[in-house]
């Protein structure tokens, strides 16, 4: 077993283990913090797949953005000093059915798909330049559309969050 293999198993265990905590933990806070390690593990797996840009983007977006937002949401919407923020199990039967269908579909897809299996990874040193070039040439339109979509989302969020008090607006 090479170092790479050892790292792969480490990151895989980290990802799966913390994902299990996210799923089964009854405390929302624990779930949110466990998510940090899931994201880190996934980033590690990306690095092992030589997708370094994706790995760093994963940390930047998910840890730096989404996780923080999630934690803020949890902490601001409940009593902050109360450690007992828990989730309960409701709607057992419909949830089981829906999850069962989803799981079946996924298993079917995974087993039917034709995977492009290679003996070894192509020797790539740094994907950043190529991603940058592709984004601004071949995939310019989707890139711009995604940008505009995000801009619209930000403006919409600002609009919703804005005070509706007319007197304040006038001032």
């Amino acid at each position: 077993m090479s170092y790479t293999d050892a790292f792969f198993y480490f990151f895989a265990a980290l990802t799966v283990g913390s994902a299990l905590v996210v799923t089964f933990s009854r405390s929302v806070i624990y779930a949110a913090f466990a998510l940090l390690f899931t994201f880190l593990g996934v980033a590690g797996l990306y690095v092992l797949l030589q997708a370094d840009f994706l790995a760093v983007a994963q940390i930047m977006v998910y840890v730096g953005g989404i996780l923080i937002l999630l934690l803020f949401g949890v902490m601001l919407t409940t009593r902050v000093t109360n450690a007992e923020i828990t989730t309960g199990t409701v709607q057992g039967l419909p949830a089981t059915v829906v999850v069962g269908i989803l799981l079946g579909t996924l298993i079917l897809l995974v087993s039917r798909a034709t995977w492009n299996v290679q003996e070894s990874l192509p020797d790539v040193t740094g994907t950043t330049t190529e991603i940058g070039e592709r984004l601004l040439t071949t995939f310019l339109l989707p890139f711009e559309i995604a940008g505009i979509l995000l801009l619209v989302a930000i403006m919409g969020a600002a609009m919703i969050a804005r005070s509706t008090d007319k007197t304040k607006e006038a001032a």
Binding site: Y3, F33, I68
Partner: protein, 369 residues
Amino acid sequence: MESLLTSILGTNLLTTVIYCALPLVFVLTYALIAVLGEVKISAWMQDRLGPMRTGPWGIIQPLADVLKLLQKEDITPSASDKFLFNLAPFVTFMGSYAAFAAVPFSSQYIGASLDLGIFYVFAVGSIGVVGLMMAGWSSNNKYSMYGAMRSVAQIVSYEVPAAMALMIIVIYTGTLNLQDIIVAQGGGIWNWFVFGGPKADVVLASGRELQASWANLVFLPLFLATFVMYYVSALAETNRTPFDIPEAESELVSGYHTEYSGMKFAMFFMAEYANMFLVSVVASIAFFGGWQSPYGTTIGALVGVPWLSPVEEFLWLAFKGFFFVFVMIWLRWTLPRLRVDQLMYMCWKVLIPFSFGIALVVGFLVMIM
């Protein structure tokens, strides 16, 4: 340097471990010096002498402080969330230390010469933010909680102008690689980005050629403003005065690490100082030529001693880093603390519009030149 270490040690694994631990050695030493600097400079600026009794002029005071912290009782509050409480310092320090992997300490030593450089440094910084959140929440103390919330809100806000400021340099150089950014500033003090960037064509470490001429002087005011913006955002990101609202001793006791004691407190302290040095070193890399000497060459290269050059380069980088840490301390004893609304005003209404504006102008200039 990696090959040299391997040839000495014989094994790859040991080399990797030593290679990873070198910045740690540096950060620990630096933290001692910075702590001493903090107490001494604060004392001098207030017409005091500072610690004088531990060693000549009190220079081994930080060592005594470390000894004290080691001996201190490690208290875990009974109402805290034990697991997260104990985990938080490590997550925070990991976030600070991980960023050093991409910092080029000299032309020969860099943990990982990533193409992603700046992007990576920014991304791993956010892991530390989660650590702060963890510390604040698990302490089960309102001061810690508010400190953590303020800290995180502040760091997340100021990440935008800081990243935009560095993005302006990236627009100019066309690379995220920190080593490349430094190489672009070689050849003398006038080629540093704070003075408008290179004035003659340079070949980057990645082999790409960067066209430049004396017309680049038009960038001088732009990059100078960018540097100021980056430095201000960096101050806010490291929770230093005048942006030390999260740690405001007089209102929040000391923010997220109120409940911590002993070595766990020391970990936070270390993380904070490591962060200070990180932003200082990034400022010196992006705007002040990193490990480049101001006269464009090294004494080692001049006298023909090849091993001297990397050492010199390292010293230049350390010197620049220390200088910006000194300016942080200087500012701390000069300015009063901002209010939260002033802080947010500064970020969203001053720094961000300006950084976007400058980015636009620089992009345009790069396109036409």
